[in-house]
Subunit: 390 residues, 2 copies
């Protein structure tokens, strides 16, 4: 799919279901690498190791498991994460420090490293150029669908490819990279360039989504670039084009995560316009996107704009309630802070019955805007999270 | 119940159920008054009027309705709130400006003031010294039980009484007074003293509870003091004693609100100890208390301490993950940031099956602590809030 990269998966038994829970991405040559990580101060063991290892600017492989977050597991957890990388390095005959690790699943349980060791041979033998769907499935937890985005991009006379794989679907909120996402490209780039490109793209995608307002301890986004396409992302034209594609790939994956949010039945884009600053616009959008009362109303298909007004009012951003307009798609529901009546209500009710729609909040204060993507808060969200460990 | 105060209720039809939805508290003499109000920038019409009127330091009556918040209703809403007060003032033959108003219910619908006008005679004739339970019922929305606390307090050779009535049960989070609460005492006090006492007591009670993290647009706490007991809250001993009782009354009401939280099946006290500052302790306690993932785990009776660690880690307060201990009642579940094993897990699981318990988070950084009270996040919470307006 992307020249020089292979992927694969195996079932180690970490998932009680017996589904694949171990994934491997392998680069045939040394790749430049960049990463963004959770801002949570409680960080999983693999995050610490991977964060350290990408400082070299290069890597060869990523080994990831689902079913166990390897977080709050102390020195034993750190040793397990290192051992997981070493097993893959030994089997692939590459330097230990060139293997990155990532984990996702339950926090606070020791990793059964014996299971991973036992599954390593089948993991290694599974990798192939078309093993991405298997890899995507192996990193799923409460996700219901695998999430892959690929693009072939022409640039001058040549072309490069990029592939991205991500998993959600809980502990998601817009505060740095908020899930696992692995990206590979056969373009080449200096690690510093890659890092800048990745940070920008994450900020406009993974940092703008929320499912439940909780930030995970394991969030990791890694981008590997092996240069095998012959294209180097160096001059401004190439940087701009790559940024554009990367933004689009990350945004596609981010939206797939929200659509597959735990128990989600609605996918809602929230746009805040007319703010005094982008920061203000983001804060208002995030507050509305995270409000339990707004999200339960979305689930109930109730165009309860009063809860949107209440969330805006408690966001901490200075506003003028009597200046606010709110739209459900193109239906103006609120004008100057007051409801637009029965006709608007009927129109908004039609909009909210759709699986996807947009809520626009015009603050009428300034000229800055921001987007956020959220889902509804359903009975199934509660069921999934009440029963998660059992 | 409290000398010189009367209360009553009537059904005006604002509630579709036909239940009482109009309440009146009347003081036979002019009472000193203090109030604390929502910090939400979107504020209901009655909040604006009442906030303005208590600047005089005195009042005679409070008229409150449920079923409609009279919020985001513009000039018409302001006129309706004023009209509601004037109707009561005229019927009671007291100055219009001495009547305070409060509303709770759906945001964004105009008040049907004709219904209130029609019900005013029966409201006026309903008031009596033992009408408090009727009043408490009339201000309920999604509450399932009325909330009243009364105390008779000896002070020197004399005694005074205090009665408080509150309603929850959604849009509750610890950020200023977060619901409706009306308090009456036959002690006397200067308005400035009352205001200081009320602010302190609210800060330790209503500002420490959360149900869903949403701050209402209508939150109002009012304290009336008519002095009929002959006791004046003036010297330090009286101030201290009154503060003590007021704190206790407000805390009792605050806990009743959380216990009756929408869909709640668990009442959980969260104590954070060993913080560098009280502000830090409060922030950590609030973040854990508001986490959707922690609250759904409480509903699932799953002692999922990893989610507590994750919430602590995203609170924004500088912490040392490896220094943290967590207890479920007296069962130590986490030591130095790691789980205490199967025995502790079994013990914590027994604790979490109780309807009420305590989670203690020892940060081991400093000597400051804070308490918060929360409930679980249940399937019924989602059902109640998905169907609220329908």
């Amino acid at each position: 799919m992307v020249s020089g990269f292979q992927a694969g998966a195996a079932a180690s038994g970490l998932k009680k279901s017996g589904e694949p829970d171990l994934g491997l991405i392998y680069s045939q040559t040394t790749a430049a690498v960049a990463g963004v990580f959770t801002t949570n101060q409680v960080q999983a063991a693999p995050v610490a190791i991977t964060r350290e290892r990408i400082k070299s600017g290069t890597c060869r492989a990523i080994v990831a498991n689902s079913g166990n977050a390897n977080c709050c597991t102390g020195q034993r957890g750190a040793a397990d994460a290192a051992a997981m990388a070493k097993m893959a390095a030994d089997a692939l005959n590459i330097p230990e420090a060139s293997v990155l690790v990532a984990s996702t699943g339950v926090i606070g349980q020791l990793l059964d490293i014996g299971k991973i060791e036992a599954a390593m041979p089948s993991l290694i033998s599974s990798i192939s150029t078309d093993g991405w769907p298997d890899f995507a499935r192996a990193i799923m937890t409460t996700d219901t669908v695998p999430k892959i985005v690929t693009r072939d991009v022409a640039l001058g006379d040549a072309s490069f490819s990029i592939a991205g794989v991500a998993k959600g679907a809980g502990m998601i909120r817009p505060d740095m990279a908020t899930m696992l996402c692995f990206l590979c490209t056969d373009a080449g780039a200096a690690p510093e360039t890659l890092q800048r490109l990745l940070k920008t793209a994450s900020d406009q995608s993974f940092n703008r989504i929320t499912i439940d307002g909780d930030t995970s301890t394991n969030d990791t986004v890694l981008l590997m670039a092996n240069g095998q396409s012959g294209i180097v992302i160096e001059d401004q034209e190439a940087v701009d084009r790559f940024q554009e594609v990367l933004n689009e790939v990350l945004l596609s994956l981010a939206k797939m995560i929200v659509k597959d949010g735990e128990g989600a039945t609605k996918f809602v884009e929230i746009e805040v316009t007319g703010a005094d600053s982008i920061a203000d616009a983001r804060t208002v959008a995030d507050t509305v996107a995270n409000s339990s009362l707004v999200k339960t109303a979305l689930f109930g298909e109730d165009a309860n704009w009063g809860r949107i007004m209440a969330a805006i009012g408690r966001s901490g951003v200075p506003i003028q309630p009597a200046a606010i307009d709110i739209y459900f798609d193109r239906v103006k529901m609120v004008e100057n802070g007051q409801g637009c009546g029965a006709g608007a209500e009927a129109g908004a009710t039609r909009v909210i019955k759709q699986p996807e729609f947009k809520i626009t909040i015009e603050l009428n204060l300034g000229s800055c805007s921001a987007l956020a993507w959220t889902c509804d808060f359903s009975i199934d969200y509660v069921k999934i999270n009440a029963d998660y460990r059992t």
